[in-house]
């Protein structure tokens, strides 16, 4: 009788609760992964997939504390209590935030750091550095310091530093979140190739993407429990509707995203299709009472936008005008931006695309006032922004950071949500928020599915939840210009739909939106304007029909 092979990864009855949390994030997870298998864990934001990855890589409860129940075995050890050297020689893992994976130094140092700790000879380390800098296109930045790199470059560096450990098991949580399409393809080829050489691979993602079809088995996680399991083909064949309900697949994978405006609420069992409409209509009515900062308030336009996503016509004076903008960082050899020229008009949603390191984030930071623009390069309402204070520039701009954690200024989700309103109303710490605004903030949090977490720390939210909170905080106050830096990165379809809804509402009210994205298809609309940067130069400024 053939004996059943011993799983390389084995979880039985695993539950986990974070410190100071009343409810467990994971409940009764039992899972086997055979050596050489590729398992994909998919779950919407807050489902517990990152927690599960961190249980398997030993970070929980070792570093962040909390309470774990049940048994976890990787090969022949418990990652929660294994010696670091033993763990590092068996597995490598990579989380959603590359900054949390990097130590300090240059790209080369990062790649060398793990093998050095495992006492690999210098010659062999050099060979591995050459191998992974070449495979991940890091050669040109091999000697750069990591804090000087773009988000995508840091993500590739973090991956190279893990691959150089030559692990038997790889646990990758959204490894391609900040990568451009070419980078994603490269990454997919690399991990596929690595897997074919016999490695055991566990990947986690918030939505069903092209990588899922390559894996051997999929596990669907919801509210900390495994609800579906099978091969990708089986799940698609038998459980498509369920996957759509869980926001892992879009409502109809072949339909354009703009037809998904009427979406389900955060609770998968609740309410009606018009949930989003209800809350945002209320919020819209209320927001009209806030200082409008010169924006158009046209309800009929709003309804049309919600109904069939018609983008209002673009006209009038530009909200922002960029004239021949060239910008260099003090230590850089070449300018981050060169001769960039364009204008954004009221009621326009513009996508800003380009490969990692092309200057997208630099441009948005200059537009928002985070970086001081050169004189006579960026004009708002005909005035040179170089001569304005950062407070004046910020007052007119809603800016959603690439990494939401960089945006937090308060201790709880609720305080974070109302921070902008309180600052706008110039309220002192002990002043009560007027009822009108309190209700609006509550409605927005409910709309984002975050009302129940109002007393939690923003840092404790899932990746998609953080992105939604970051956006909600900005959209609560009407402004002429909103800039969103990769808002859909590693987000589930619930988050994307909510973001889309907020964006279209702002556009319909006359705001201009600039969205940095590597996935323009997520923000598709009948008429989309797309700007593309390449090595700091604007190489494309086109309107294109998405359908």
């Amino acid at each position: 009788m053939p004996t059943k092979p011993i799983p390389f990864v084995q979880l039985s009855g695993v539950s986990y609760a974070y410190e100071d949390s009343d409810s467990p994030t994971l409940e009764q997870i039992s899972l086997d992964v055979q050596a050489g298998e590729w398992l994909t864990i998919i779950g919407a934001s807050g489902s517990g997939k990152s927690t599960l990855c961190r249980i398997m890589n030993g970070q929980l409860p070792r570093i962040a504390g909390g309470q774990r129940k049940g048994n976890v075995r990787i090969d022949d050890m418990d990652p929660g209590s294994a010696e670091p050297g033993l763990l590092a020689s068996h597995m490598g893992s990579l989380g959603q935030d590359p900054d949390a994976e990097l130590v300090v130094g240059t790209v080369e140092d990062e790649i060398a750091f793990g093998p050095e700790n495992l006492r690999i000879p210098a010659e062999e380390i050099g060979r591995r550095i050459d191998q992974w800098t070449e495979a991940l296109n890091l050669q040109p930045i091999r000697h750069e310091y990591i804090h000087q790199l773009s988000g995508g470059q840091r993500q590739r560096t973090a991956l190279a530093s893990v691959m150089s450990l030559q692990p038997q098991l790889l646990i990758l949580d959204e490894p391609a979140a900040s990568l451009d399409p070419a980078g994603k393809q490269d990454l997919l080829h690399i991990i596929e190739h690595w897997h074919r050489t016999g490695g055991t691979l566990i990947t986690a993602s918030a939505r069903w993407d092209e990588t899922v079809m390559k894996c051997s088995r999929v596990v669907i996680l919801t509210k900390g429990r495994i609800v579906l399991e099978g091969t990708p083909a089986e799940l698609l064949l038998h459980h498509r509707e369920r996957l759509e309900q869980l926001y892992i697949l879009p409502p109809d994978i072949n339909q354009a995203a703009d037809q998904k405006a009427a979406i389900q609420p955060a609770d998968e069992h609740a309410n009606t299709d018009t949930y989003a409409d209800t809350y945002v209509h209320e919020a819209t009515d209320l927001s009209a009472s806030i200082a409008s900062a010169g924006m158009q308030e046209d309800k009929s336009e709003l309804r049309r936008s919600e109904g069939n996503a018609a983008v209002p016509s673009v006209s009038g004076q530009p909200v922002v005008e960029v004239r021949d903008l060239t910008y260099s960082y003090s230590s850089a050899l070449r300018p981050a931006l060169a001769n960039v020229q364009f204008a954004l008009y009221p009621g326009e949603m513009v996508l800003l695309c380009g490969v990692n390191g092309s200057g997208k984030t630099t441009l948005t930071r200059l537009l928002s006032g985070l970086l001081q623009p050169p004189v006579q390069s960026i004009y708002r309402n005909g005035k040179d922004t170089a001569r304005q204070s950062i407070y004046d520039r910020a007052a007119d701009t809603g800016y959603v950071f690439q990494h939401p954690d960089h945006q937090w200024v308060a201790a709880t989700v609720w305080e974070e949500c109302v921070y902008g309103i309180r600052a706008h109303l110039n309220l002192r710490p002990r002043d009560r928020l007027p009822d009108l605004y309190e209700k609006e903030a509550e409605d927005m949090l409910r709309f984002a599915g975050l009302l129940e977490r109002r007393d939690d720390s923003p840092y404790s939210l899932g990746g998609g939840q953080k992105r939604l909170l970051a956006a909600v905080c900005q959209f609560l106050l009407p402004r002429p210009l909103y800039i969103l830096d990769e808002p859909g990165s590693a987000a589930d379809y619930f988050t994307i739909d909510r973001l889309l809804y907020l964006c279209r509402r702002a556009v319909s009210q006359g705001a201009a939106l600039l969205i940095v994205t590597h996935e323009p298809e997520l923000f598709a609309a009948p008429e989309v304007r797309k700007l593309t940067l390449e090595q700091g130069r604007l190489i494309e400024d086109t309107y294109s029909s998405s359908r």
Binding site: G85, E101, R119, H143, A423, P429, Y459
Partner: protein, 251 residues
């Protein structure tokens, strides 16, 4: 084995000096600063150190640094000055006395703190942590865990600066304006809290990342970058020590 390649040749000489020589120089200056007990030579030493650092790093004479030194130095100077009652009495108000000896003592102590602060900051800013770790472990045989601890402590200052920049940017973009009076104090308290929390989170991340990559797993580790002590280093070190001994005897 490779030698560190990204050392910026175009920057000031302090960036080009190896960390061991810099440590010896820092020690020599500290010995002199602690030894000197008169205001004029201490002022001269301070001026020499300041000029050398300004030329050698090209970036340390900055507004924030001067404000920091003033924030530490002025109260310290006042307290030191009033705590010593020697020599001529220049001014008296109740129990408070300003004497010539007190003034000299205050100046010496304050300048000493300035010198120690400046040299430590210069070492932190101009030293590549990899070279420092390599020098300590490969040349001085310091345990690598301790050497990394020291090196990461040196990087804490730039880390704090980066966190402060991020926290300030987030607040400005969220509409917070500069407050006045008591509200300004509350605002500063919140701001400093956010900077501190952010820094601690970053350090936790770094610690987690280091552990995940096997840091501390074995009593020793290999180094991809070799540390080569330049032949000129011995001359610089012995020269520094000789000058220090000479000045120690003279002063």
């Amino acid at each position: 084995m490779s030698v560190t390649k990204n050392k910026p040749e175009s920057r000031g000489f302090l960036y080009r000096i190896d960390p061991l020589t810099k440590l010896v120089m820092l020690l020599c200056i500290s010995v002199l600063a602690v030894h000197i007990e008169h205001a004029l030579p201490q002022l001269l030493l301070f001026a020499v150190v300041w000029i050398a650092i300004a030329i050698g790093s090209g970036q340390l004479v900055s507004g924030p640094l001067i404000r920091l030194l003033a924030a530490i130095g002025i109260p310290y100077f006042g307290l030191s000055m009033l705590s010593v009652r020697e020599g001529d009495i220049w001014w008296q108000w109740g129990a408070l006395q300003l004497t010539s000896g007190g003034l000299e003592y205050g100046a010496v102590m304050t300048l000493r703190i300035f010198i120690l602060c400046l040299t430590s900051i210069a070492l932190s800013v101009t030293t590549d942590y990899r070279e420092l770790v390599g020098a300590l472990v490969l040349k001085l045989k310091v345990p690598y865990r301790f050497a990394y601890g020291l090196a990461l402590a040196l990087t804490f200052l730039p880390l704090l600066r980066e966190e402060a920049r991020l926290a300030l940017a987030a607040r400005r973009l969220r509409g917070q304006r500069k407050a006045r009076g008591w509200a300004a104090l509350l605002q500063t308290k919140d701001y400093m809290g956010a900077v501190f929390t952010g820094s601690i989170r970053r350090i936790q991340h770094i610690a987690g990342a280091m552990e995940a990559k096997g840091f501390g797993a074995y009593p020793d580790r290999t180094f991809y970058h070799s540390f080569v002590l330049p032949s000129s280093a011995l001359y610089w070190m012995s020269g520094s020590i000789a000058i220090t001994i000479m000045l120690y005897i003279i002063l």
